[in-house]
Symmetry: C5
Amino acid sequence: MTPKRGSADPLRLRIRHARPHVRPGAPPGTLTPPSPDEPVQPTQIRVIWYDQDHVEECQLTDVAGCSTFAGRLGTTWIDVTGVGDPTVLRELGKMYGLHPLALEDVQNLRERPKIETYEGQKFVVFRLARLDSTVMMEQISAFLVGQTLITFQEDPVDPWEPVRSSIRSGIGRVRSAGADYLLYSLIDLALDEVFPLLEQLGDRVDDLEQAVVDKPGPETLNGIFALKRELLILRKTVWPEREVILGLQQDQSGLIAQDTRLYLRDAYDHAVQLMDMLEMYRDLASNLLDAYLSSLSNRLNDIMKTLTIISTIFVPLTFVVGLYGMNFKYFPEIGWRFGYLFVWVIIVAIVAVLLRYFRTRHWF
Amino acid sequence: MTPKRGSADPLRLRIRHARPHVRPGAPPGTLTPPSPDEPVQPTQIRVIWYDQDHVEECQLTDVAGCSTFAGRLGTTWIDVTGVGDPTVLRELGKMYGLHPLALEDVQNLRERPKIETYEGQKFVVFRLARLDSTVMMEQISAFLVGQTLITFQEDPVDPWEPVRSSIRSGIGRVRSAGADYLLYSLIDLALDEVFPLLEQLGDRVDDLEQAVVDKPGPETLNGIFALKRELLILRKTVWPEREVILGLQQDQSGLIAQDTRLYLRDAYDHAVQLMDMLEMYRDLASNLLDAYLSSLSNRLNDIMKTLTIISTIFVPLTFVVGLYGMNFKYFPEIGWRFGYLFVWVIIVAIVAVLLRYFRTRHWF
Amino acid sequence: MTPKRGSADPLRLRIRHARPHVRPGAPPGTLTPPSPDEPVQPTQIRVIWYDQDHVEECQLTDVAGCSTFAGRLGTTWIDVTGVGDPTVLRELGKMYGLHPLALEDVQNLRERPKIETYEGQKFVVFRLARLDSTVMMEQISAFLVGQTLITFQEDPVDPWEPVRSSIRSGIGRVRSAGADYLLYSLIDLALDEVFPLLEQLGDRVDDLEQAVVDKPGPETLNGIFALKRELLILRKTVWPEREVILGLQQDQSGLIAQDTRLYLRDAYDHAVQLMDMLEMYRDLASNLLDAYLSSLSNRLNDIMKTLTIISTIFVPLTFVVGLYGMNFKYFPEIGWRFGYLFVWVIIVAIVAVLLRYFRTRHWF
Amino acid sequence: MTPKRGSADPLRLRIRHARPHVRPGAPPGTLTPPSPDEPVQPTQIRVIWYDQDHVEECQLTDVAGCSTFAGRLGTTWIDVTGVGDPTVLRELGKMYGLHPLALEDVQNLRERPKIETYEGQKFVVFRLARLDSTVMMEQISAFLVGQTLITFQEDPVDPWEPVRSSIRSGIGRVRSAGADYLLYSLIDLALDEVFPLLEQLGDRVDDLEQAVVDKPGPETLNGIFALKRELLILRKTVWPEREVILGLQQDQSGLIAQDTRLYLRDAYDHAVQLMDMLEMYRDLASNLLDAYLSSLSNRLNDIMKTLTIISTIFVPLTFVVGLYGMNFKYFPEIGWRFGYLFVWVIIVAIVAVLLRYFRTRHWF
Amino acid sequence: MTPKRGSADPLRLRIRHARPHVRPGAPPGTLTPPSPDEPVQPTQIRVIWYDQDHVEECQLTDVAGCSTFAGRLGTTWIDVTGVGDPTVLRELGKMYGLHPLALEDVQNLRERPKIETYEGQKFVVFRLARLDSTVMMEQISAFLVGQTLITFQEDPVDPWEPVRSSIRSGIGRVRSAGADYLLYSLIDLALDEVFPLLEQLGDRVDDLEQAVVDKPGPETLNGIFALKRELLILRKTVWPEREVILGLQQDQSGLIAQDTRLYLRDAYDHAVQLMDMLEMYRDLASNLLDAYLSSLSNRLNDIMKTLTIISTIFVPLTFVVGLYGMNFKYFPEIGWRFGYLFVWVIIVAIVAVLLRYFRTRHWF
């Protein structure tokens, strides 16, 4: 009857953070050198360059190779995996004039989704939900510098394959549009990845609703609280993402083309829809908790009623039979001819009166 | 005494969604081809053309037939039922220059009510409550392109008959006004359909209020939670609809005539009134739940009081009679002449003291 | 001990609505003809005309009689009682150019307080609390057309006597000011009528506060919930009224004189004060409910403590005396010289140990 | 064990209101004549006139005496105590051109703190906390007309002594600044008087926090609810005061000097700080209530556990010994040589099994 | 089983306040003289002057020594420890033209974080978390006057060592930027100090989450409430700090260089992130409390079920055996050959029926 604790929770959200955020007193804009205890993830750089008619791809291990793309017409996408090595960041920063404060944020894997505008560049941080064994909310940092997009992530698994393949095949608008549309594609993909998560959560809401009605138990309760906790964390991630998209859409710097803004509006609608669904699930989860606790109160009332009825009937009867179990020498009823019958009459009378009383009180 | 579960719930809201929303990684603006497993609803097209003096109606099965209305003066309403076939959408899109992102939203049956402005066209998504065996919140998508209104819905049942018949008969302003007024008429009808729903919900609030006072039971509780759940879902639909109407009213593009805006303001007032009533029902439902749980606590207190009074009286008495049921050989009281009377004196004394105590505590 | 249900509730708010609001599909702006089942309230028209020096009053039964006042200088107030007859509305509408959408709202007795501006006219809906046997929230619709004020109400009882008599006697500003000031006077009167209601509610809060401390019972609970319910309904009426007054005050059309705005600001302050008091009562009512439930929990704890102390003492004792009531042939203690005394020693020891234990736990 | 009711509550807030607010139907701007039942407080007028170098003070009983100050250069402060006599108000109103609506508000002692701008004058209502035996929230009304400040209060006790003495002694800026700075000084004093109140409330929060941990009882609960109630009332007073100060600070009329605005900003900061502390105390009070109720639940669980353990052990034992107390003629165990020992074995076995069971469930 | 009270709470927030805030009636802008009872902390002044190439440091005990830095080019930072001596404040105020209202706020150690702009100077109040044995939220007041920064704190422990050492060594931007950047560095350091605090709180959330699942007890409850209380206090400090940074960033006075604003935006992001985390912890803490109380309800239900099952089985049995313990002379069953067996049959039947009943109700 004891609650089964630690019941397997298949969808546990985790926000990845490898390095501590806080070095109070260090001057802002300083990059953290790799700590000796924790070996740094080797950095990988994938560069893809394209215009309407051509696509070129290459995989590098140092920043120097990027310089061949620096002056070219067309769109260049530099995708860096592994942000632990400050040399890579510093060299890229020098080559493309990235702001030191932004580079510091790239290394800090706990940043809140945000958008920053620096002279001639946009810096965007957002999160990508990835279904591994557990759900990872991977931090993506992106710089939009002219027609070059530079993205950073810590995790070696590549999430951008769908976008890359649509660049290669030339399906959709991506090849004809610029780096701003590419940035939009990545953000849109990140948002789209949240929908299956939400569907799982929706299924869990339905299951829990069923469980509260059918067989509420401690696991139901644990399930409700786990659900609420995950909705909370997911909400904290999606909410600022909305502002990021809005910030891109209302851009004044000319880095975002007019056309791309229409698409960003669409992405914004998706983010709003995500928030709406999260809010609804949250309200439903609160509802569920109330329903569970109310049914618990109902059951307690039921149980106590049963106990009270049984006790109230039998405790007086036990007194009566105890009475005639006394051993007094001078005990008139004991010697009566119909004493035993008399006791039974008393018993039946007590039971009848009590049952009547219970019925009046609508106890059963 | 056990709660009756799964009690028939006559008004269960359902948001229709036939096709999954999410294909992460597909380029935005792509229409979904019909899946082979799930046969597509055949598309039906009803066209109605009218000006102040004439009305023409026809029913088509392919888009080509619409071209005869394309250049004409007067108002054209193309009403498409069944959005599963991407060819129909694509051809209509080409003929009227509908935006691909909007067409994608037409197919996605889980869109949030919204309004979008594209070059020379308005795209509106709203929901229509329809009382079938259950309540369906059918998604309606509408394009307003000049004097042409194109509406899409998935369900084959036609909800627009009242509007169509007032076009035919020429009652009201609809014939003399343009496509913008027609769009307003559809939205107003959709809002009006929510009022009977709300009246049903209001009746349920009243019934539950009565039940909480008269005979609160687990069904009452289930009823309250079902009510809260439906108010939640209805609210999530009506709330963005308000913004849609406001967006139409504040239109800058010239697609909405000045006169129609007065009517839209009226529709907006209705939407606000709906929200007000929903909010009030929600507050009343929370009130109900509190009332129910409080009465439960009251009852539990009552039950426990009864149990405690009975136990507190009879448990000591049972001890006393048990005492004189002991079989000791050397047991002075047993041999007393008035031992039995003495026991009764003790019993009466105990009962008197306890009753006095209970009365002091206001227990009955 | 059972809760007394249906305890007399002297202040039950009712929002009057005679006719159903919803005729989905009817073109907007249509007036409802009188239904044959429900005989229409006969329409009464009181006209009062005044300027600084003269007052003229007459009582009419048809609209035609109003035409004599149509062109005159000075202020005309046409007060229509009974809105069920569409002919009256239609004729008045024609004579003064009232907007059809507004006329439709006059008939719909469930409108939310609101203000609408049409070409050269203001249309205002507000509610008037009237203390009959029950409290009625009567709907008042008013058109301000130049120096003419037309008001509508359904109920035959005349609420405007104080205003009429101050017009007749010329006390205050009303005779020297125009129709806008007259409209203000009516709204101000409607607001003032809410204050006695609020005072009653305030008295009930005080009574309930006393009851929660002195003798909380199910009637207290019912009283709290009834209070919350009425505060909710009253709030839903007063809240939009505030916006109505603000709308009149910020009028751009020139229908409201500069001087009258000062008075409207005063009325606005009153409305804000009403809202403040309603909010405070609401918070106090929530406080009361919490206090009631907490005292219930306190009492339950008290009751359970009593039961537990009694049971914990006597149940072991009953076991002991039951033990020596066994009938074994070979039962050493039974034959002991001081067996009975020995039992009493055991009993006293048990009681002493348990009392000590309870005292350690601070149970009494 | 019963809750002590009506425990002395040293800090009970009272909002003073001597006369009823509501005379529905009276024309706005009418002053209430003194009612014959309730003798009017005699009016006292203190006038103080000063400039940088001179101070003149006098105490009057009628308005006529004020006329000597009317045209003078320098600042005049007319402080009226007792607002029941309409003649005084009317005469002052005539002499200084005070608006009739404002004068009506002076008499109404339940006004919400507010600021009104009339042609060439500011009218301000605020509240002053005064620690008498109970705390009074005295209403102060003030008119700022050019360099004259006219203040009204009902209570005969003079709260402005600190300001008056700093005028006399010439300490601080007050002598060199104008009537606007004087008004600021009064408001600032009124705010400063709230801080000691808040400190008392803070001490009560701390005491209650201690009590919830150490010996929670019904008085703790009463204390928490009294605290919440007073925070609520205090908040309703301070909140609009903030807006009053902001209104003075953003004055457009030229009545408030630029320099004085700096000081008003400081007063505004104090009001914000008051609100912050009130909010924090409110949150802490809610926290306290939750803590109290949770500890109550904990105790109930504890109590029920004790009861259950005792009952679960002894009820079966009582059955066993009752069994062998039966009087059957043919009862094999009764005759056994080691029957009694056998019963003890059963008893020990039952106790051992149950203790084990309780330990498994972590019941002790 | 009793709750352990006063369990060591390692992170108890304290807001330092040495002197009472309130001297109602004192003219604003007055400095408090040292009280004779409470000896004033001796004032220490550290001056550091630097430009791109030079650094000069000295430690003074009176203000006069500062005058040597007054006219110099480059940045001067005057750091005053101990604000109790009004002479020091007054002299510094005269030397740098600091506003008297601001100086009064320096002495008042309970100020809310805020920013004030006076003619040619910025006055900023913020708080610095310092981990001593307990956590101190030390108040820092700072004046930015041209290229001079004057900071005040009460506590003798120097928190600014990291900034000072980066000035000395010339690491980062601080030497090349002005006094505005220095102010930013201090605020940024103050924010950074909150992160380790938050991490401790985060660990406590995790521990409590574990405890609620594993072995919920009164300490868990105390832990949850202590957590909520500290989040509340921390939030009240960080929230206005956000506004302070925003105020500096939106400065119009020219005191804050364009470059420094970028850095302030970064600090603002950190403050927002702090608020986000605080909000999330707060939601998680509420979740925890709900979880705890729900598990308590679950356990109570469990306990009551056990009690009810045991009582419901044995109470009737005790009655039965009590019945046959009666001593009536004429008692047929007593003499039966298989009477004893008959009783056992009854007992087994009762137990069987009851177990069946419990199973039907899903009680075990």
